[in-house]
């Protein structure tokens, strides 16, 4: 068994060993070993040229990654957390996403950017938000959310190989989870959603940290005689409409779980896709389980109440099946 953080480190090592164009940079990724201990030992193995501690300047080190990618390198940039990445949004939206288009296809930006996202560690309203939808809104970039140990590894490899800018969101509660890691087989396409558990009564559609809560909810529902299918979106841009619609076409009911705020969320986007393209397959209204619309509070009981939990998913699932 391997941990999620070790799986990312394994991928980083593979990339740094096999491709001289790859380098890794971010705040505290070198000497400190990474804020989530992902890159421990990499500085010692690969040296300061290829594992770079950056100053605290998200906009400029992400921008420098974009420039280096245009210049022929394959940078992997770590931003400590999604809240900090807002300082780099200018570079992401105004440069990374548009460079290929604005230059008429002359320049491409093969950069991979990783960052932690989500709540659950009582680190309050400047370190806990889920803003994947902000990124997924923007054409020109791709967005991945690995929920499993295997995906944490495979998606980083795929992101670096990809000719377009790829943003990877790692839920901060997942770094410690353990699971099997296969580094030999050819991984599935990162751009496709996965059915994590098959079921026939309803579809629980989730991504990132919420996938695990959806799986636990499915166990609970099974005790009540309800068979829930769990869809892990995996790729947030592009969204795999086919798998989403395919699942709901079998179960005819959908609950979408998203740790972002409901307004303008990816859960809203998935719901709209179902309304537009699978309306006649639905036997019940689509339900969304999202974070209550407040900044994430510090106090444990309030933080737990704010973000989607298993009981809220189970309740939404029951309502979808029995009505009311």
């Amino acid at each position: 068994m391997t941990s999620y953080r070790d799986a990312i480190r394994t991928a980083l090592q593979t990339l740094l060993r096999e491709d001289p164009r790859v380098f890794f940079m971010g705040e505290d990724v070198g000497r400190y070993g990474g804020p989530y201990a992902v890159s421990k030992g990499l500085l010692e193995e690969f040296g300061e040229d290829r594992v770079r501690d950056t100053p605290l300047c998200e906009s400029t080190f992400v921008g420098a990654g974009i420039g280096a990618a245009i210049g022929g390198m394959r940078p992997i940039v770590e931003v400590m957390t999604v809240n900090f990445s807002l300082l780099a949004l200018d570079q992401v939206v105004n440069n990374a996403a548009v460079m290929r288009h604005m230059s008429g296809g002359q320049f491409e930006v093969p950069i991979a950017v990783r960052m932690a996202t989500g709540g659950g560690k009582q680190i309050a309203a400047q370190h806990s938000h889920s803003l994947e939808n902000w990124y997924a809104h923007v054409p020109g970039i791709k967005v991945l959310a690995p929920a499993t140990v295997q995906d944490a590894h495979d998606m980083l490899l795929a992101a670096v190989e990809d000719p377009d800018p790829v943003f990877i969101f790692e839920h901060q509660m997942l770094y410690g989870i353990e699971g099997p890691l296969d580094t030999e087989s050819t991984p599935p396409s990162p751009w496709k959603a996965a059915i994590r558990r098959a079921g026939k009564d309803l579809s629980l559609i989730a991504y990132g940290g919420s996938v695990h809560k959806a799986l636990t909810a499915a166990d609970e529902l099974e005790k009540e005689g309800l068979s829930a299918e769990v869809v892990d979106l995996r790729s947030l841009r592009p969204l795999d409409r086919e798998t989403i619609i395919g699942s709901v076409s079998r179960t005819h009911r959908a609950v979408v779980i998203d740790e972002a705020w409901k307004t303008g969320s990816l859960a809203s986007e998935v719901s709209a896709i179902l309304a537009e393209e699978a309306f006649y397959e639905l036997d019940a209204p689509v339900a969304r389980v999202c974070t209550i619309e407040v900044p994430i509070p510090y106090a444990k009981h309030l933080e737990e109440a704010a973000i989607p939990q298993v009981d809220r998913i189970v309740e939404a699932a029951r309502r979808s099946v029995v009505g009311g």
Binding site: S59, A64, F107, D162
Partner: protein, 325 residues
């Protein structure tokens, strides 16, 4: 002071400044005729900066420019026709009609764009220099930006990072005294812009940006020092924009007298005056340059007029390497 350069060299510099001036005048005319739309930022008055700098840099160096980049693009070698077609929005433009006036690009000429987020090009320049350093290339990345960009956090962050990582970036600040319509004294606490970079360990100097010969020398010296040391340097080019910020600008923030005063330093007229009085060139030379430039611009307009509009069916092109829809 005599010009201490050869006849051929002075003709080259003069020719390129006149080419830019005529291209810009024609662009303004075509804007009034609604052939060119969107934002159009003219370089008139600042030609000595683009021409002097481009003549000083090597063909293999990287260029990162701003939204006022027609001059740099032209002297760098992007054909006037491709620039004009880009401003028309035609598919034979240098960015395929996807960029327009503010976003001229040429991979072939290492021209990494017109950037229209003030300060946003600086981190890109730092990254290009990082890529070169890591790949063992000896080229310099020359990054143009205006005085307004020095207000931005990315300016300070980029100086710091380039100095910290010892990256071969030449920061070229085109100080035209206005951040759009806000005068230098209204937007910078220390109006001596070259004071700032040394605080980050980046050596800085200033040059009269209305004197093309001085600009060429200064940029050449700075670029060769960057190449030699592998470390960043900063050069302020003191210049002045004779025309409005963009075609939407009513210029309510400065007086006509102020503009007229600066026009006495017109970089083209002053070079002509000096070269004529030094006996380096004749009136006939100037006439010939004007004639050639007029022909080049007329051909450019024809090239743009003859260009095709990209079919709407292709709208998704260039968003990703492969269409995701």
């Amino acid at each position: 002071m005599t010009l201490d350069i050869s006849r051929d060299h002075v003709l080259d510099l003069l020719r390129d400044m006149i080419r830019i001036r005529r291209l810009e005048e024609k662009s303004a005319e075509l804007y009034a005729k609604q052939k060119i739309r969107g934002f159009l930022h003219l370089y008139i008055g600042e030609e000595a900066v683009g021409v002097g700098a481009m003549h000083a840099l090597r063909e293999d160096d990287n260029i990162v420019a701003t939204y006022r980049e027609h001059g740099q693009a032209l002297v760098r070698g992007i054909p006037a026709g491709e620039i004009m077609a880009e401003m028309y929005g035609k598919s034979n433009g240098c960015s395929g009609g996807r960029g327009g006036s503010m976003h001229l690009f040429s991979a072939e000429r290492r021209f990494y764009g017109g950037h229209a987020i003030v300060g946003g090009g600086l981190p890109i320049a730092v990254g290009l220099a990082l890529a070169d350093k890591m790949q063992g290339e000896s080229r310099v990345t020359a990054c143009f930006f205006g005085d307004g960009a020095t207000d931005e956090g990315e300016f300070h962050e980029s100086l710091n990072l380039a100095a910290l990582w010892k990256l071969p970036v030449l920061f070229l600040c085109e100080n035209n005294e206005y951040a759009m319509g806000t005068a230098l004294h209204r937007h910078v606490s220390d109006q001596n812009i070259a004071d700032n970079p040394p605080a980050y360990g980046v050596p800085a100097d200033s040059v009269n940006g209305m004197d093309v010969v001085a600009v060429e020398r200064a940029v050449h010296n700075e670029a060769e020092l960057v190449r030699e040391t592998g470390k960043p340097r900063f050069l302020e080019l003191k210049t002045y924009r004779f025309r409005a910020h963009s075609m939407y600008d009513a210029e309510l923030y400065r007086s006509k007298e102020e503009v007229e005063e600066h026009k006495k330093d017109d970089p083209i007229e002053s070079l002509q005056r000096r070269a004529l009085s030094d006996g380096l060139i004749t009136e006939a030379d100037i006439e010939q340059i004007e004639e050639d430039a007029a022909q080049e611009i007329a051909d450019a307009v024809e090239f743009a007029e003859q260009g095709d509009w990209e079919p709407v069916e292709e709208i998704r092109r260039h968003t990703y390497a492969r269409d995701l829809s």
